[in-house]
Symmetry: C2
Subunit: 441 residues, 2 copies
Amino acid sequence: MTNSVPSSGSEADVAPLGNASTAERYADLPFLPNGGVASAKGFKACGIHAGFRADPKRLDFALVAADQPAACAAVFTTNVFCSAPVTVSKERLGGVGYGTVRAVAINSGIANAATGDKGLDTARQSSAIVADALGCPAEEVLVASTGVIGQHLQMEPFETGSEKAVSTLSSAGGHDAACAIMTTDTHPKEYAVSFSGSGIGYEGCSFTVGGMAKGSGMIMPNMATMISVITTDAPIAANDLHTALKAAVDMSFNKITVDSDTSTNDSCFLLASGEAAKPSAAYMVPGTPAFSAFEHALRTVCIALARTMATDGEGATRLITVNVAGAKTVEDADAAARTVANSPLVKTAIYGHDANWGRIAAALGRSGAAFDQESVGIDIMGLPVCRQGLTVPFDEEEALRRFESPDVVIDINLGAGDEATTMWTCDFSHEYVTINGDYRS
Amino acid sequence: MTNSVPSSGSEADVAPLGNASTAERYADLPFLPNGGVASAKGFKACGIHAGFRADPKRLDFALVAADQPAACAAVFTTNVFCSAPVTVSKERLGGVGYGTVRAVAINSGIANAATGDKGLDTARQSSAIVADALGCPAEEVLVASTGVIGQHLQMEPFETGSEKAVSTLSSAGGHDAACAIMTTDTHPKEYAVSFSGSGIGYEGCSFTVGGMAKGSGMIMPNMATMISVITTDAPIAANDLHTALKAAVDMSFNKITVDSDTSTNDSCFLLASGEAAKPSAAYMVPGTPAFSAFEHALRTVCIALARTMATDGEGATRLITVNVAGAKTVEDADAAARTVANSPLVKTAIYGHDANWGRIAAALGRSGAAFDQESVGIDIMGLPVCRQGLTVPFDEEEALRRFESPDVVIDINLGAGDEATTMWTCDFSHEYVTINGDYRS
């Protein structure tokens, strides 16, 4: 009974911290029914069984294609052990992370990581095969792979599957594409939102941002890694797309953790067709209301995809949202939230329905963030459990009731400044150990 | 079957990396039978039931006392949420980390952490009560606590227990002291070694370094934290003791991880009586063979205690030794070894007897250490599994046989330089989740 000693007043005295999560700041745009990676005008998608997997019922090849060459930006894993398709897609974008492309081709089953020069040849060849089928230069096809590492990817499924994939492309194919990139995911992940161009210089236009994602955390070679493809029909120049994507990824995919930060294959692609801006095709300019509206929609989709990835972490029973406020710097906010979200002790406590603020405090204390323990406040699921670094008595039965929710929120105020952030993770269960420990044995 | 693709030759072609662990460099001094914290001349110890715990059969109060005021050095947790006894012991050592003391008093059951000003008063008062019983100034008694956080430590057990503890002190009391500081530990941890003064300026003398430790990793408030007391009868000045202790801790206690780095209460004390140097009481001087012999003995004891702590991690079934060589810098070596040792995916793979080098590679790749993936070699239990960043085929049955050992060694060569280090951790089991997740629920 760790938290049973009265020390700073009764429950009734203490107001919740009331931190706002990043998701709450991006909650105003409704998600489109059945929205996904092919919702934006100018894009088609498909998911087929090409033969990367043995099971003929399992979709294993996704293609997202633009009707015309489209602006594209991408961000990739920073892991030194990056996979061959990551290296090749970076090459295709000329090393700057943006350019013009026609398609992104993704296989699941084999990651083509730790495969040396032969793996690089395979990745280059596969994009050429897909490009042939699409009738575009190889340079305009980006590739991504997810699955087992250390094995070589076969060319046959690309050779036999590419024509079939191209002929299957449709604006209704987003869902199959989202299914085809799944590995240990328990469900496909796809979201889309729309925003009006009226009042922001694109009267009568309606723009859409939609995307799909798979995997969460570095769970190689149990075949989960993070891959996401997002499309929009807003008119955005490739370099501005890159800036917007990096900012959106920083507050979404870079703020989730299942058990570490980056895998060998993590890739996030963003394509813009500009098709919804017709007849005016003028680019949205950074700093204008139009560009801000696009950024807002992009972040909304990225945050929704990221949260779903954290919820679907291996063995997860609960999404954990860690809201840190009162940090001295942005870096401190991130370090504090990340250390709490990565703590196996916090994650097992949540799994065990234990409102154990001591483990949260200990993680904060070793995070490197600057603060005084006398200034710290912590709420768990809206229940104040710590103020001024001391225990606040709380109703344990009420806490257990709130733990029934699949969505557990931890609010922290460091009392050291004005910076805030949100991280998402999942709890740490017996099932996690089973999934990751019983592999092969 | 992750590692089944031939890529760089058959097993027979590949020699093991043959990295040496830090422990192997400190394996020449035999441990004294029944050696512990009271093995060195000039020290006595005891462990009694003072009443911090409800169970009268459970020892809960340890006292280590020098016959005369002794040189002392200490290192403490860097966690911002440090406990009251840490703050008070730091005060007692004048803020420099070394000084002259008579005793270290340790209670288990309550950590006296997150207890504010009242907790500080309690810690100060408790050291004064013990000092009264010993007949020395309060400034000469250091304190440490381990157990539940957020609860206040009662004074009664100190008041009723201190006289009893002082009267129980004996040179055979080290074992009881080691038992009294246990929390979730499954066994007491104590080691001692001796080295001869002959040939190093202390002819006919024999010096002893012995110590005890408890807990491993930050497992608050499941009542495990790291506390260690080490004594020696070598004649060492307090400031030199501090330098030697910091170096020894850096290669031992700071190189183990169960689930994080520092708890609220981590403390390591080193006391030197000089009693074995009589009649010559000349201090051993840093840089001389005598001081080097002392440092070697100290490191031997610290490494043995640290390894035992990692082996006894909550739910652990195996000790994991991570030997990194070929790092560009000392910091890179540490980052690489630490990231591998902290990886839940590596720890669950070892639990599942899976020689899964991909998870090790992924941890290395995100560690921040500088290297090229084409230069990396990895052995698991002496079996080469990766060379030049590529899979090496190995005998899976032989790997499963080697996993029967309670001691799993991972050798890594980054191929980027000459620096090396060793980290110790334990595997991640269902039992870990049960211990940490089922608490209170």
